[in-house]
């Protein structure tokens, strides 16, 4: 598996730019943006639904269409997260924390602009990295064994430390509770069903989408119901393209944040079995730790939204690398894309770049072009979607409730999941009211099975020594650094304030004398 010549790379671009292939990109973008914005429809569900129809398109058109759908649905998941506090996909949960606060402050259009700007930059960066390094780097992903994946999960959990904000104890309790709740369902070692409470629907544990819709979307209704409008009273609503363009421009002020978040997305996406949901939390936590204003996170802060969305769209490029080069899908979504290739007679794997180099580069270029198209098409869809803030709460609250319930049903087609939305909605409202960390709880729930499985595999394969392998050790050191950084930063801020107050005292004494 070597690096192709420039001729082959350009032939790949040429193949994509042929009208019969290129026309499927905007169509896929539009479909992805519209359907991806429906809460509960994650990108995997959506692509799985599209898959049977792509058989009629031919291999190249099918993959181009699906790549466009993939990018667009990743970005579109942010729209309901910003406007309604309903994460379109699990990876959009951090977007809710900042985006919905902005909507409440009358800055929905601005938040949408920020989101599209960050998504576009993160996506283009990811696509370019994938284009350049896919043939070379994919092979290194094989070095990630169970110990490294376990450490990665622990790293994700420690990133929560920076999300917990007011009370570290309640934050840690929330994440531990999330991990514990994740212990419901069939365990992998003996196949024993742990505490399904008599419900066959819980044999695989608590399903993520209904829990997510409950603790984020439904729980918010309890506070919204007491207010007249989504936007707080007294705040002037600004419609039109103006705020969206303003948000778009503002996103460009966060270049380092976007590049760092995009790279986190690529790196996490590269590791098979992780996915965007973990990446966005890690990125959000990192943005908070590097921020000069970490206390503003969770209040509608640009940096948090930019970090989450740049990372979210950075994942597809990373996830595509092991899929195309090794035949190991990095996520459920890339699994569906791989299935699309295989249905059409193309098998991804180490020989893919040797046997189908032109087609492989055309696929990678489709990711670049799709992300460029995201900007104009996304702006128009965002403009239309931001009108939702003018709807009074007496109409909006029942509609959100219905969308949460139907969204939960859509994921597994079980009425039981609708009850889960209500139960976790109440629990989420209680967690929020008493200062617990909802994101920490969710992250624990998300990472629980991954951490458990990989911990025992690592111990079985190589004993405790597996955790001392170089990559695992590096992640462990990074975890310690992530834990220590907030403490060090807090000390620096305190010492800075002391120094500042000292200077002010001296200045005042001088003025008085």
């Amino acid at each position: 598996m070597g690096i192709a010549s420039l001729d082959v790379i350009l032939s790949g671009l040429g193949l994509l730019l042929q009208p019969e292939h290129l026309m499927w990109l905007p169509l896929g973008m539009l479909a992805g943006l519209l359907i991806g914005a429906i809460p509960g429809f994650n990108d995997t569900n959506f692509l799985a639904m599209v898959l049977p129809f792509t058989v009629y398109l031919g291999p190249m058109n099918a993959v181009v269409f699906m790549m466009a759908c993939f990018c667009a649905s990743q970005a579109a998941g942010s729209f309901p997260a910003i406007l309604l506090n309903i994460p379109g996909t699990p990876s959009n949960a951090p977007t809710c924390l900042e985006g919905f606060k902005m909507t409440r402050q009358g800055r929905a259009g601005y938040a949408m602009g920020l989101s599209i700007g960050a998504s576009t930059v993160g996506g283009i960066l990811s696509a370019l990295v994938a284009l350049v390094i896919t043939p070379v780097v994919g092979i290194y992903a094989l070095n990630f064994g169970p110990a490294e994946l376990f450490m990665m999960a622990i790293f994700g959990m420690t990133a929560v430390g920076s999300l917990t904000g007011k009370s570290l104890l309640k934050g840690l309790f929330s994440s531990a509770l999330g991990l514990f709740v994740a212990c419901v369902g069939t365990e992998f070692q003996e196949g024993y069903t742990r505490a399904s409470f008599g419900f066959f629907e819980l044999y695989e544990g608590f399903p993520l989408i209904p829990v997510l819709l409950g603790v984020f979307g439904f729980s918010e209704l309890f506070s919204l119901v007491g207010e007249k409008n989504l936007v707080a009273e007294g705040i002037k609503k600004v419609n039109g393209f103006g705020p969206i363009i303003e948000g778009l421009k503002a996103s460009m002020k966060h270049k380092i944040n976007m590049v760092r978040s995009g790279l986190i997305g690529i790196l996490v996406g590269l590791i098979p079995g992780t996915g965007a949901a973990i990446a966005t939390w890690v990125s959000y936590g990192q943005a908070k730790q590097w921020s000069k204003t970490p206390d503003k996170f969770g209040t509608g802060h640009d940096e948090g939204l930019v970090a989450a969305d740049a990372c979210n769209n950075g994942v597809p490029g990373g996830a595509l690398i092991p899929t195309v080069t090794l035949g190991i899908p990095g996520s459920g979504t890339t699994l569906v894309i791989m299935a699309a290739l295989m249905i059409n007679g193309v098998t991804p794997g180490p020989s893919f770049f040797g046997e189908h180099a032109v087609e492989a580069y055309a696929i990678l270029f489709s990711l670049v072009v799709a992300n460029i198209l995201l900007l104009p098409i996304g702006l128009v869809v965002a403009r239309l979607a931001s009108n939702v803030t003018s709807v009074p709460n007496k109409y909006l609250v029942p509609i959100i409730a219905l969308f949460c319930l139907i969204g939960a049903f859509a994921s597994r087609q079980m009425l039981f999941d609708m009850y889960l939305v209500v139960i976790f909605g109440v629990f989420g409202a209680l967690l929020t009211r008493f200062g617990y960390s909802v994101p920490a709880f969710l992250l624990g729930l998300l990472l629980g099975p991954l951490a458990e499985r990989n911990f025992f595999w690592a111990v079985e394969i190589g004993g405790i020594d597996s955790f001392l392998r170089p990559i695992a050790l590096v992640i462990f050191i990074a975890t310690i650094a992530v834990l220590a950084l907030p403490v060090i930063l807090a000390k620096m801020v305190r010492s800075g304030k002391t120094a500042l107050s000292g200077v002010e005292t001296i200045e005042n004494e001088d003025e008085n004398s």
């Binding site: 531990a176 514990f180 709740v181 212990c183 003996e190 024993y192 119901v225």
Partner: protein, 154 residues
């Protein structure tokens, strides 16, 4: 000095209480599990329990803080509606079908939350239900519960 004495704070006990009940139910349910199957859960249960103790000593028994503003009487019942209405909606869906139950759910909830115009409530509820029906049932072929009235399937 009496004011600064630690007291039992019932509100702060709600989340730890729910978590504790969940933990007890969990370990009662898994009483027959082998050590291999349950050791990870025991580890996490212990960890969660330690944090829970910390919360009990720090927040549940704490120095009382000033009371927050309470909701106005008009708003007090609304969260209850948001809790009960969806439960009724889910319970009636298998009998009324997705379309009819969604329409009734929206129309009534609009009204209970302050939408005074029945005609407007009905039109909005009908439009949203119709859009969802077309998207979910006709386009995506989702197997939502349906009501059969003669040859007409709703």
């Amino acid at each position: 000095m009496e004011k600064n004495k630690k007291r039992f704070n019932p509100n702060e006990a709600i989340v730890p209480g729910i978590s504790l009940l969940f933990g007890i139910a969990y370990f009662v349910q898994t009483a027959d599990a082998s050590w291999i199957a349950i050791k990870w859960a025991y580890g996490l249960g212990t960890l969660t329990g330690l944090f829970l103790l910390g919360i009990i000593f720090t927040y549940v028994f704490s120095i009382p803080v000033k009371k927050e503003k309470t909701d106005t009487p008009a708003n007090k019942y609304k969260p209850l509606i948001i809790l009960i209405a969806p439960l009724l909606y889910i319970a009636t869906m298998p009998y009324l079908g997705f379309a009819l139950s969604s329409f009734v759910f929206l129309t009534l909830l609009f009204r209970w939350l302050g939408g005074k115009s029945w005609s407007r409530n009905t039109i909005i509820a009908f439009t949203i239900t119709a859009v969802l029906y077309v998207a979910m049932v006709l386009l995506m072929q989702m197997s939502l519960p349906r009501l059969e009235i003669g040859s007409f399937i709703l």
